[in-house]
Symmetry: C2
Subunit: 152 residues, 2 copies
DNA sequence: TACCAATAGTTCGAGCTCGAACAAATGTTA
DNA sequence: TAACATTTGTTCGAGCTCGAACTATTGGTA
């Protein structure tokens, strides 16, 4: 039973594709891809915008906290911070009360880059939610909050 | 200006973390992680459940179409199909009218595995949306559809 | 105090996705 | 027909994340 090429006009999405979990996956892949294609500011900064933004909002946190905040493993964060430190965007400082730990801070340059990325991020956000009402966007946002909380 | 460890009771999420794009990323990482931890059925099947489900709903499609359907690149799909073929879940068949192309089909075993995974997927879906009303879930679902369409 | 568990950060190898480049086949156009 | 462009699947190297194992340090307990 083989289909004529020209007759495949309509593809069946399948039950799985109606699941939230799958849609979230699709959306994240497409969103990340689009953002990176759009933003060409300073090195790895765009890729780790979420992390940099979090550091900006919470200066001086431990690496463990940062990892949790962006849903990465502690071990994954090491190389990322190494790079961002090499690019002069981020700084590791010793914690006086605990010699195992590091506080992570943005450099002045890091703060500048975050500000620039924020602009690009807003544009991206607008593109992603184009044609949606405020209420629709809010509903997705609140819903995702609940889903994230459920999965944590 | 360094903070006392015990005084960091409340973390600032930062503007970025309020963005849909960021929440989508968090949700997808957590959801994928949770699903893989839960499901221990046959090899790589769980990881590529979305793909298998799509093949199940659309048997005999070209690899290019499949890649698009799950938001992966053509080149990424090659190794995945190699594995799934090795595990006996999937089959590549030549296309009579185009000697470059392959049709991809599920084997009988593949169909059995998809059915099993579907069960696990429903559980996972329930966990992720626990405590949410039907309307809330629907709002997230529709909203994600629009976002996906915007980013495509 | 001495001992043991827990924690912060790190290293390392495995596995995954990507983009670029390629061969083979097909489509298009002069 | 011949020449060129496009498409399909592929290979390959770079870059990323993960889990497991490790060191150093800190916390808890007998």
């Amino acid at each position: 039973m083989q289909q004529e090429k020209t007759k495949i006009t309509e593809l069946n999405s399948g039950e799985e594709h109606q699941w939230i979990g799958f849609k979230i996956r699709m959306a994240q892949i497409l969103a990340f891809r689009a953002f990176e294609e759009k933003v060409k500011i300073g090195g790895k900064a765009a890729r780790y915008f979420g992390l940099l933004g979090y550091i900006n909002a919470n200066p001086g946190q431990l690496q463990t906290v940062l990892a949790e905040a962006v849903a990465l493993r502690r071990s994954s964060l090491v190389a990322i911070l190494d790079q961002l430190e090499n690019e002069g965007l981020v700084e590791r400082r010793p914690v006086p009360t605990d010699r195992r730990a590091n506080q992570v801070w943005l450099t002045a340059e890091g703060e500048r880059v975050v500000a620039q990325l924020r602009e690009a991020g807003r544009e991206h956000e607008n593109q992603a939610t184009e044609g949606m009402t405020k209420a629709e966007i809010e509903a997705v946002s609140k819903g995702l909050d609940k889903i994230i909380a459920n999965l944590k």
